[in-house]
Amino acid sequence: MSVLEMREMVKEYRLREGLRTTRLRAVDNVSFELTPGRTIALVGQSGSGKSTIAKLLMQLERPTSGSILVDGEPMQYRGARAAAYRKAVQMVFQDPFGSLNPYHTIGHHLARPVTLHHPDFTREQVDERVLELLRRVRLDEDYVGRKPHELSGGQRQRVAIARALAPEPAILVADEPVSMLDVSIRLGVLNLLAALQREENLGVLYITHDLATARHFSDEIMVLYHGAVVEHGSADDVILNPQHEYTQLLAEASPAPERRLAELGH
């Protein structure tokens, strides 16, 4: 699998208010293409539909209309092709404190996806693969026996990344992977993601509301507003020369100390 395409995707939710029902269009006619080695950032406010798009990609929601194509073929929800799809598209969640089971060791978290996706592996092969995954995310091998509470937030998120890499995916969906982490380790985790992306030639969908990291981490940026893409272009174009007024609003709202300090200095 190499190219993942979302085409004219629409997702509506039914809202009930007493006896009346209304429809909320969470994703409104969104199309984009994820190719190996490229990163697309999806930015927008809370409630703009970013996470719904991630859920649609992860098969956690069914589209109202529109389609997801894998190398030009429609994605399947059942059968061998669906299994192959689920192996190829993996996700890193926002909260490293909530996404790891406190009861299990780090080794267990990594061994599960390995055994699920390689039922033919012997125990030695699985162990070897787990250690390799830890090395990939630059964690010491002795973390295998540790529990999540013994790790810092950044280390936990690196375990979550290793877990997503375990089935050898082609596409990685990263939903705010660093927003819960301390500022000084955010860059480290993003740099690691970028390095892994290069090593594995991954297509990455980076979901965030932080425009600054979106700009530096991605090739393209899509700005989402009320479920619709209002601006889509190369990262520097969208940030430095925003066309749509909503993108301008987002850029205005982002902390930019230079602006105020320039005022202070003169």
Binding site: Q45, S184, G188, A212, H216, P257, E258
Partner: protein, 300 residues
């Protein structure tokens, strides 16, 4: 100008299995009407410091040395460590109020907004009648940009940003002279965050209170603060006005914090998409800091 709050040599220990020095001999002054930013990573002791100022620390935390003096607008000084019982209860919120971390979840889900706002008046202004309380609560909400009709709402009916505004309204209810805000805008998206920040700056100009603004988001602090203190492992490593701190940071830790934010419009800073990884663990917490974090979380 005389400071409204002066912290002198304040040290706080957590008497856990191993004693943790969470705050070490911190001295700070807060000028009247100033916004003082307090920056640092989780576990550096910034929340502990804030809780100490409002005397909200619970065992195993203990103030081992130093004092906090509040100088009122009316011209008297209060040593906060001497206050106890009813005096402390009357003082808190009236002179120093606080907006807590994760404030959106600190509203009581089963009480209407009106009841929670009026509770402040019932405790601190018992002379007010019910009708007066209602009017004051309505004014408060409008002051922070929430419609008066929302008084009857329950917290779950409000968005995160609105709940945050309600919390700020609650903190402003008695027109305190000092407002302590502990990560008031984390968990909000950038647009709502911007609205809240503008609101805070506007209210400060209107009411003239001083703010201690605690966050790990240094760019944000640079935008709104007059002075910034950078904290690490319980110590204030650098304290300067915003412009100097940004243009001429002295301490290597400040420089590292500054460089860990990629700039929106400028250079990439420490961000390498295609270079080497550098030291991943370089800035992770060391052992003692992790313990402080753990104890802090436990004591909440």
């Amino acid at each position: 100008m005389s400071p409204v709050l002066s912290i002198e040599n304040l040290s706080i220990d957590y008497l856990a299995e191993t004693t943790v020095h969470a705050v070490r001999e911190v001295s700070l002054t807060l000028e009247r009407g100033e916004i003082l930013g307090l920056a640092g990573e989780s576990g550096c002791g910034k929340s502990t410091l804030a809780y100490a100022i409002t005397r909200l620390l619970k065992p195993p935390a203990q103030i081992t040395s130093g004092r906090v003096v509040f100088s009122s607008r009316e011209g008297y000084d209060v040593d906060l460590s001497r206050l106890a019982g009813d005096d402390l209860r009357a003082f808190r919120w009236d002179k120093i109020a606080m907006v807590f971390q994760g404030a959106m979840n600190s509203l009581n889900p089963v009480l209407r907004i009106s009841e929670q706002l009026e509770d402040v008046f019932i405790t601190h202004r018992p002379e007010l009648t019910k009708a007066e309380r209602r009017i004051r609560s309505g004014e408060l909400l409008e002051r922070v940009g929430v419609d008066r009709n929302r008084l009857r709402a329950y917290p779950h009916e409000l968005s995160g940003g609105m709940r945050q505004r309600v919390m700020i309204a609650m903190a402003l209810a008695l027109e305190p002279q000092v407002l302590i805000m502990d990560e008031p805008t984390t968990a909000l998206d950038v647009v709502v965050q911007r609205e809240i920040l503008l609101e805070i700056t506007r209210l400060r100009a209107e009411l003239g209170f001083a703010v201690i603004f605690i966050t790990h988001d240094l760019p944000l602090l640079l935008e709104i603060s007059d002075r910034i203190a950078v904290m690490r492992a319980g110590l204030i490593v650098e304290l300067d006005d915003a412009l100097t701190l940004y243009t001429k940071p002295k301490h290597p830790y400040t420089r590292r914090l500054l460089s860990s934010f990629p700039s929106l419009t400028g250079e990439r800073g420490g961000f390498v998409r295609s270079g080497d990884l550098g030291d991943l663990d370089g800035t992770e917490l060391d052992e003692t800091e992790q313990t402080v974090e753990a104890v802090e979380m436990e004591s909440r």
